[in-house]
Amino acid sequence: MCLEFGGALDVRAVLEFVDSGRDLVIAADGSASDLIRDIATECGVDFDEDSEAVVIDHTSYAVLDGEGDHSLIASDEFIQSDVILGSKKIEAPVLFKGIGHTLNAANSLVLKVLSASPSAYSTNPETELSSPPSLTGAAISLVSVVQARNNARILISGSLDLFSNRFFRWGVQKAGSLEKDSWKILVSDYRHAKSGNEQFVTELSKWVFHEKGHLKAVNVRHHKVGEVTEPAMYRIKDDLEYSVEIYEWTGNSWEPYVSNDVQVQFYMMSPYVLKNLSTDQKGMYSTSFKVPDVYGVFQFKVEYHRLGYTSLSLSKQIPVRPFRHNEYDRFITTAFPYYGASFSTMAGFFIFTFVYLYSK
């Protein structure tokens, strides 16, 4: 088994490439070397350990299969995300022939983009099955993506033929769809003239190479209501405004990103204020709130992690001071008894002097 690609390219070099923030597409099939499997494992995806295994599905295979062992499968279990797969629904299933992989359930950075149907399993088609296969059902992922914490994106596919012109052009008829939909009258439901491969691959590659779903946040500003400059320090119970601009890259320009669930936190050990930012539809998000009654060093934090989008983690530190001596209310309501007592002693003293001097 080859241990390097040739030259200086090995597992470590590829991983450094990803760590530097760049994107990667890995496609493997049954003849994949250990090197490719290692890279995939480092990215969070585990290919089937048996190097002869392919994914077989006896109810979701494509009827144009030439070999008859149902290893050419047609899958339409897509991830529900307009960002990753485009807003236009992929009508036809995607043809797939190759190996399957699983994802670690504890890994939050890996997503299954195309998964196998519940009746699929991964095994060597040449030999008889002596024990139940280890990879079965919807746990098998056929194509997955990883978005790393530095926003590098990796596409991992278990089939090289998925990307081939052959699969792009073929029509798809899913076996078993006749029985499933036999009560339907429309013919077009189960016989598609063109597979969904081309649309699937095009949209997915746009996403992997950051032409979709790539956000940037600029111009973080905060100031007191009514002012324009950013103060170095806030006082408790001040009214302040916070604004940020978020744009999305569309492949040739930055368009304003429109969403209504971006939130800002006023944070010191735990968020004291958590508010939704309202947008003006042109990429400017702003809100205003009152500084809480606690002093210390706070941070304005925006943590925005959504499926398919780059994660935004902005934070800006600002201290908050208590009232100065002359910023309190002039007459404090809770102190009225004390005011009353002091003035009554003075009045008492005054009256007493009169009584003392003028009584016999």
Partner: protein
Amino acid sequence: FFYLVRVGHPINYYLQFVTRFYIHFTAEQVVYMAIVGSFPFNSFLSGVLSCVGTAVLAVCLRIQVNKENKEFKDLPPERAFADFVLCNMVLHLVIMNFLG
């Protein structure tokens, strides 16, 4: 009503009234502070000290004016009263400043 204790000279009557009333008032303020919390602590202190201070000065005046008291036999009562007035002025000046 324990403020009104008749002890001969009407001055004593008034002075006892003043002393006892203001000590009662102090106790009330401390209880109020225990309930509400000591937020404007300077106001609390000035209220309490004004009551305690006037009570103490009234007691001093009463001691110095009382003719049966051997220590202050040579002290003219007018001088005692002048001291009383002066000390009260200073006390109330401080109170007003500290009230905040």
